[in-house]
């Protein structure tokens, strides 16, 4: 059969039911194969949308996402989502078209060195030189993307090779001698970790996105409850442990709670699980958790001792390791009251410094209150896809995620324009659940064309713009760290008072119901009505303009010097 038809067979064999993409000359043969393939192909409006949608799908479902783009400009438009997937360890296979082999390296029309351009941003990549290798390559690409520490894999396919007639046979084995992720964890180290946990007086469990990726949330909960430990999660780990919960300290890091950051600061033992000590977590490295010993559980050995030397390293899959750690811990019959003083100290911080904000004086809508209203209206059951900026941090702080895979954001790369397309993928992956995009007036304009995709697929995605007329997060930094020299952060200075563009009209142009909310009194009811109505909605909420995200650890500062 044609190589491109074999691609479709391979995708079906991998259990793929939906893909996201954009056609062009170099992948025309592939698009021809889509006609009869019986695979749901979603036509996005920009290749970045395809990549982020595939990420959203993967993050919501735990399956491998798939995105297609043509050569040259199509492939370069995929570079951002590829890097984004790398930073957040999202399993996505990207298929890029390439010019015909005889044109390779000649600066041919729409030629770009996709393998070269993406090399620092991929987990692995393949340039197809022999079309007979396609079935094996695709199977191995899915295997690499989805196992170990997940990540993006690129398959670059020259146009001429995609039309060749090849024998197709399903591939089920993998032959990758250089790729053997370790998953089981060393029993001796697990025992050591259990002992350390049993003797610690001020322990903290610090869980990251790896717990979500590894589907180890249940196992994490069991350990935390068995030990009565305080737990905090990273931005990527939200939902790995249910919030609110008595043992939950809230998120940690730059905009985390004081309780979480102070607990890390005073801890004598920190057990990091699927978390990588990112600089947004540690602040000033030399002053991070100065009294603590570290247990570090991660499937990627390169993460262990990368930023913080681990005293007890455990390489492996959290889902396999955590139950054994819990068993070992239980067997030690550690006494619970040893943690009483520690909990008392934590409770004092929690009482003294709850997450809070000042209500608006002038009847304006506070952005934080919008997140709280979304939480109430959805009963905490929605998938929240955020963009990047202040609204992202408020979505992390004021929506309490009860389960993993309900919080989808671009954590590592911080990509504005991520939220809307990611919601397309998430909604398709989990169609029964309400999917909400929380975005800013800046971020939404980075991939707003995907409203067309939402209309075309008739997806009931609810878009909520926290419209402050600013690149709010940048404004916040200019206010705090650049002496209020506001340089190019105001986004609606055209035409006087009213914000522009007129998002309601814009939504209307895309055939999506748009509405504007300006009344704090009716905010919750308005949102409830908008969410209850069938189909997509685009909700422009005019919020108070100068709000800041607090608390905050200023860059380069230590946790105990939090402000706000």
């Amino acid at each position: 059969m044609r190589a491109v038809d074999a691609i479709m067979e391979c995708l079906k064999a991998e259990g793929v039911d939906v893909v996201f993409g954009y056609p062009g000359g170099a992948n025309l043969p592939t698009y021809d194969a889509f006609v009869d393939a019986g695979i749901h192909h979603v036509l996005v409006r920009h290749e970045a949308g395809a990549g982020h949608a595939a990420e959203g799908y993967a993050k919501a479902t735990g399956k491998v996402g798939v995105a297609f783009g043509t050569s040259g400009p199509g492939a370069t438009n995929l570079v951002t989502p590829i890097m984004d997937a790398m930073m957040d360890s999202v399993p996505v296979v990207f298929f890029t078209g390439q010019v015909r082999t005889e044109l390779l390296g000649t600066d041919g029309f729409q030629e770009a060195d996709t393998i070269g351009l993406t090399m620092p941003a991929v987990k692995h990549s393949f340039l197809i030189t022999d079309p007979r290798e396609l079935p094996r390559t695709i199977h191995e690409a899915f295997h690499i993307a989805g196992t170990g520490r997940p990540g993006p894999v690129v398959i670059d396919l020259p146009q001429d090779l995609s039309k060749v007639d090849i024998p197709y046979e399903p591939i089920t084995d993998v032959h990758l001698p250089g790729y053997q992720p370790r998953t089981t964890g060393n029993q001796k180290q697990i025992r050591q970790a259990a002992r350390a946990l049993a003797s610690a007086r001020r322990p903290v469990i610090y869980a990251g996105g790896g717990v979500v990726l590894g589907n180890a949330s249940e196992e994490l909960r069991a350990l935390v409850r068995e030990g009565g430990f305080p737990i905090t999660c990273t931005l990527m780990g939200l939902g790995a442990y249910p919030a609110p919960d008595p043992q939950w300290l809230g998120m940690l890091g730059m905009h985390g709670t004081r309780a979480a950051n102070y607990a890390m600061d005073e801890a004598d033992l920190i057990c990091a699980i699927g978390a990588r000590f990112d600089d947004r977590i540690t602040g000033k490295l030399s002053e991070f958790a100065p009294r603590a010993k570290f247990i570090h559980i991660d499937v990627d050995p390169a993460e262990i001792s990368k930023n913080i030397p681990a005293h007890i390293p455990i390489v492996g899959d959290a889902k396999q390791i955590l139950p054994r750690l819990t068993d070992e811990y239980r067997a030690l019959e550690a006494d619970r009251p040893r943690l009483d003083a520690w909990w008392q100290r934590i409770r004092t911080w929690q009482e003294r410094h709850p997450l809070a904000y000042e209500p608006a004086q002038d009847g304006g809508i506070k952005p934080q209150s919008v997140i709280e209203a979304i939480y109430t209206v959805t009963g905490g059951e929605a998938i929240i896809c955020s963009d990047v900026g202040q609204h992202q941090m408020w979505s992390a702080q004021y929506y309490h995620y009860p389960e993993p895979r309900r919080w989808i954001n671009s954590g590592g790369l911080g990509t504005m324009g991520f939220g809307l397309p990611a919601a397309i993928g998430a909604q398709m992956g989990d169609p029964e659940r309400t999917t909400v995009v929380v975005t800013g007036d800046g971020s939404i304009q980075m991939n707003i064309q995907e409203l067309a995709t939402i209309r075309q697929e008739n997806l009931p995605v609810k878009v909520v713009v926290l419209n402050n007329g600013y690149l709010g997060m940048v404004r916040q930094w200019q206010e705090l760290f650049w002496q209020e020299r506001y340089s190019h952060v105001e986004m609606n200075t055209y035409g006087g008072e009213d914000a522009f563009p007129d998002f309601v009209k814009l939504a209307d142009a895309y055939g999506i119901r748009g509405l504007r909310l300006t009344n704090a009194e009716t905010l919750e009811d308005d949102l409830r009505a908008a969410f209850a109505a069938e189909g997509p909605a685009f909700i422009d909420v005019r919020v108070t303009r100068n709000e800041k995200v607090y608390p905050m650890i200023a860059p380069g500062e230590a946790a105990r010097d939090m402000v706000g």
Partner: protein
Amino acid sequence: MVDTNELLSLDELEAAGNIRTGRKHVLSILVENKPGVLTRVSGLFTRRGFNIDTLSVGPTDDERVSRITLTLDGALHPIDQVVKQLHKLVNVLKIKDLEPTETVARELALFKVSVDGPTRSEIRELAEVFRGKVVDIGKRSIIVEITGERSKIEAFERLVRPYGLVEMIRTGEVAISRGRDET
């Protein structure tokens, strides 16, 4: 609170970063013999900000496998990080950070030295002492091939430089561990 407008001094920058040097490391890396693998390896060094000192690549007794010998300077911690990051490359099969005392390392160098009548024989004598080989003699220059440890090659260089070194080329080290174990 930090004042972002404050200029960082270069010293502070150095103190904050990983600009450290430690002992020299010789990494022996077995990789799949496939296109682009060397780019992946060297690209990883670029991205992580490491400076490769020397690099040599060649086939092994197994045609599917090539060996990269790579030397670099670095403090222990970053080297550990480099090795772990290299391990993540799908085409990398095996890495060994060779212990200097347990390793046989060799480099090959060609020296083109300018000569006149009398100095020609001086250079030939020098080459002999270093067990080098004279591989070309011209009217005004002579080419000597030296194989050996780095220190030997560097010593030879110091000796012939005053004569007028027209050109010199070094391959970078290749290394293999002593004893029966495979590298």
